[in-house]
Amino acid sequence: MKRTSQGYWAITWRQFRKRQLPMRGLVLVVLLGLVALLAPLLANNRPLIMRYQGTYYFPVFREHPRFRNVDFDELAATFEKGDFAVFPPVPYTPTQYDLTEHLQEPSKKHLLGTDDRGRDVLSRMIYGTRISLSVGFVAVGIYIAIGTVLGAIAGYYAGKVDMIISRFIEIMICFPTFFLIIAVIAFLPPSIYNIMIVIGITGWTRVARLVRGEFFRLKGQDFVTSARGLGATHFGIIFRHVLRNALGPVFVSATFGVAGAILTESALSFLGFGVPPPTPSWGDILSQSRQYIEFAWWLTVFPGAAIFLTITAYNLVGEGLRDAIDPRLRQ
C-alpha cells in the first residue's frame, strides 16, 4: 500500500481533534453558523409548509401573492379538514411587535420573553447571530488582508520600507483603539458596514507584526533561495512561497480576531452606536435592558450569554488551533 505523507493542514487537523474542549468549541462555532444561515427557517411568522384548500404552499421560501397581507395565525383558524400548517420553531419575525405583550417574562409563548415593544427576544437573538458573525468575519477579513500585505512587505524587503511600516504599526498600537472606534462610529451614519470597516482598519497591527516576524524567519531559508534561483518574481516568492508557510499563525490570530470583533460590535451596540434599529443585534437587546434594569432580567441574561458563548467558542477554537500548529506540542 502506498502511503503518502500527510500535509500541513491534515496534521493540524489530526492534532486539533485530539483535544476535547477545542472540539466542543468547534461544534458550537458550526452550530452558530447554522443558526445564522438558517435564521429565516428558525424564526418566522410564516409557515414552513402549509396545505390550504387542497394545495401545498411553502410561504417561507416563496412569497405567494395570494397570502401577501395574510396573518397566517388567523388563516390557520379557518382551516378546513385536511389543511395544516407547520410553523418554524419560533413563530415570530424579529421585527414583529405586539404592544399588548411587551416586557413579558419568558413563558411557553415567548421562550426568552419579549422586549419593550413586545418583540420576541429569541427571534431577535436568532437574527442577531447574523449580525455578530458577519461583522466578525468581514472585519477580520479586512484586517487580515491589510495586515498580511503590510507585514509581508515589511518583512520581505526589510530596510527602509520596514522602518516606515513598523513606525506606522507603532502609531496604531498607541492609539486608544476602542476610543477611536467610538469616535469614528459616532460621527458616521449608523450602518453595519461602517462598523465592519472601522474594526477592520484599526485591528490589523497584530497580524502585520506576526507576518513580518514570520517573513524575517523564513526569507533566508533554502526554499526561498531556490525559488529565486528558478526565476520567481518577488510577488511570486512573497505570496506563493513564503506566505503559505506563514499562514498557520495568521489563522490562529484570525480565529481570536473573530471573537474580538464580535465583542467590539456588541460593545458598540451596547453604547448605542451599533446597527440602526430595528435590525436586531445582541448588544442592542442588552442596551435596551438598561432601561428596565430593575426587573427585566431576561433582556440582560440571554443576549449577554449569547455573546459570551460565541466569544468562548471562537477563543476555544483559536486556542486549539494554536496548540495544533505548535510543533513543540506534537506527540
Partner: protein, 331 residues
C-alpha cells in the same frame, strides 16, 4: 541607559504627531460638525435656513473651523507646544483643566485594578504551573478562560441588575464614586464609602486582565521549569521552594513585566464603557460625552494624553525589562 531613554523620547515625537494627525483628520472629516450642533442646541422652534446658515458660519469662524484642515492642525500643534489644548466648545472651560480633573479618577480605577491583576495573577500562574495537569490546574485554566471571554459590559449590567437594587439584591451602590451624604461622613467612613463604590467597577476592570496575565505567567513558569538551570538547581539539592521561587520564578516574570504596557491603553478603552455604566466621572466618561457633543478640543486632548500615557507605559516596560534582566542591554 540615559541615552536610550532620550532616544526613545525623541522617537515618541513622530509617533505622537502621527496619532494626533490621524485623529484630527478623522474627526474633522466626519459629518456632524460642532457648528451644526450649535444650531440644534440653540433651537428656539423653527428657524429659517438663512438664519441657521448664518449661525453655522459664525460658529465656524469662532472656532476657526472655516480654515482648511491642515491649517487648523498646524494651529492646534502650535498651541500644543505650550500645553494649551484650547477650551471646550461645550462649557468654555480649559481642556487641560477638565482632563486634570478627570484623570485622577481614572488612574485610581486603572492603577488599582492593574495592581490587583498582578497581585492575584502571579500566584495563580505559579501555582498552576507547579501543579501542571492536576485537577486544580485544569479548573483554574478553564475558569480563567471563561473570565477572559466574559464581556465586561455584560458583567457590569448583571452586577447592577442582581446586586444593585431593583427586584433583586441591594448590596452595592451602582452610581458614582461617593454617596450623597459623603461630606458629613467621618474620615474612615469616607474611605469605606469610596471603597464600597469602587468594588463593582474595579471587579469589572480587573477580571479580564487577570485571565491573560496569569495565563502568560503559567506559560512563562512552565518554560522556566524545563530549563537546564532549574535541573541543575534541583540536582545540587536545593529545596523545591528555592528552586521555584528563586530560580524559576524570577526568570519567568520578565515577559509579564512588558505586558504592563499593553494593559494601560486597554484599561483606558475599557473604562469608557465601565465609567459610563457606573456613572463614574473619569476620563472614559469625559471621552464619551465629548464624542457625543462633538467637542473637538476635548477629544483631541484626551487622545493626545492617553497616547502619551501609552508611550510612557511602553517605555517604562522596556526599561523595567532591562532592569530585571541583566542579559538585556539597552545601549
Amino acid at each position: 541607559m540615559r541615552v536610550y531613554i532620550a532616544r526613545r523620547l525623541l522617537l515618541a515625537v513622530p509617533t505622537l504627531l502621527g496619532i494626533t494627525a490621524i485623529t484630527f483628520v478623522i474627526i474633522q472629516l466626519a459629518p456632524g460638525s460642532p457648528a451644526a450642533m450649535a444650531v440644534r442646541l440653540g433651537g428656539e422652534g423653527v428657524r429659517s435656513d438663512a438664519i441657521a446658515q448664518e449661525i453655522v458660519e459664525q460658529t465656524k469662524k469662532l472656532y476657526g473651523l472655516d480654515k482648511p484642515i491642515p491649517v487648523q492642525y498646524v494651529l492646534w500643534l502650535k498651541r500644543l507646544v505650550t500645553f494649551d489644548f484650547g477650551t471646550s466648545y461645550k462649557d468654555q472651560r480649559n481642556v487641560l483643566e477638565k482632563i486634570a480633573e478627570r484623570l485622577p479618577v481614572s488612574l485610581q480605577l486603572s492603577l488599582t485594578s492593574i495592581f490587583l491583576v498582578y497581585l492575584i495573577a502571579i500566584p495563580i500562574g505559579v501555582y498552576s504551573s507547579t501543579h501542571q495537569h492536576s485537577l486544580s490546574d485544569n479548573v483554574i485554566t478553564v475558569s480563567l478562560f471563561i473570565l477572559y471571554s466574559l464581556p465586561n459590559f455584560w458583567v457590569a449590567t448583571l452586577f447592577i441588575m442582581f446586586l444593585g437594587g431593583g427586584d433583586f439584591l441591594n448590596v452595592f451602590p451602582i452610581y458614582g464614586l461617593v454617596s450623597d451624604n459623603y461630606a458629613q461622613l467621618t474620615f474612615w467612613a469616607k474611605v469605606g464609602d469610596r471603597l464600597w463604590h469602587l468594588v463593582l467597577p474595579i471587579t469589572c476592570l480587573t477580571y479580564g486582565g487577570l485571565a491573560s496575565i496569569s495565563r502568560f505567567g503559567r506559560v512563562g513558569m512552565l518554560e522556566a521549569i524545563r530549563q537546564d538551570y532549574v535541573r541543575t538547581a534541583r540536582a545540587k539539592g536545593l529545596s523545591e521552594k528555592v528552586v521555584i521561587f528563586k530560580h524559576a520564578f524570577r526568570n519567568s516574570i520578565i515577559p509579564i513585566v512588558t505586558l504592563l504596557a499593553t494593559l494601560l491603553p486597554a484599561m483606558l478603552g475599557g473604562s469608557v464603557i465601565i465609567e459610563s455604566i457606573f456613572s463614574i466621572p473619569g476620563m472614559g466618561q469625559l471621552a464619551f460625552e465629548s464624542i457625543l457633543s462633538r467637542d473637538y478640543p476635548v477629544i483631541m486632548g484626551i487622545t493626545t494624553i492617553s497616547a502619551l500615557l501609552t508611550l510612557i507605559g511602553i517605555l517604562l516596560a522596556d526599561v523595567c525589562y532591562a532592569l530585571v534582566d541583566p542579559r538585556i542591554s539597552l545601549e
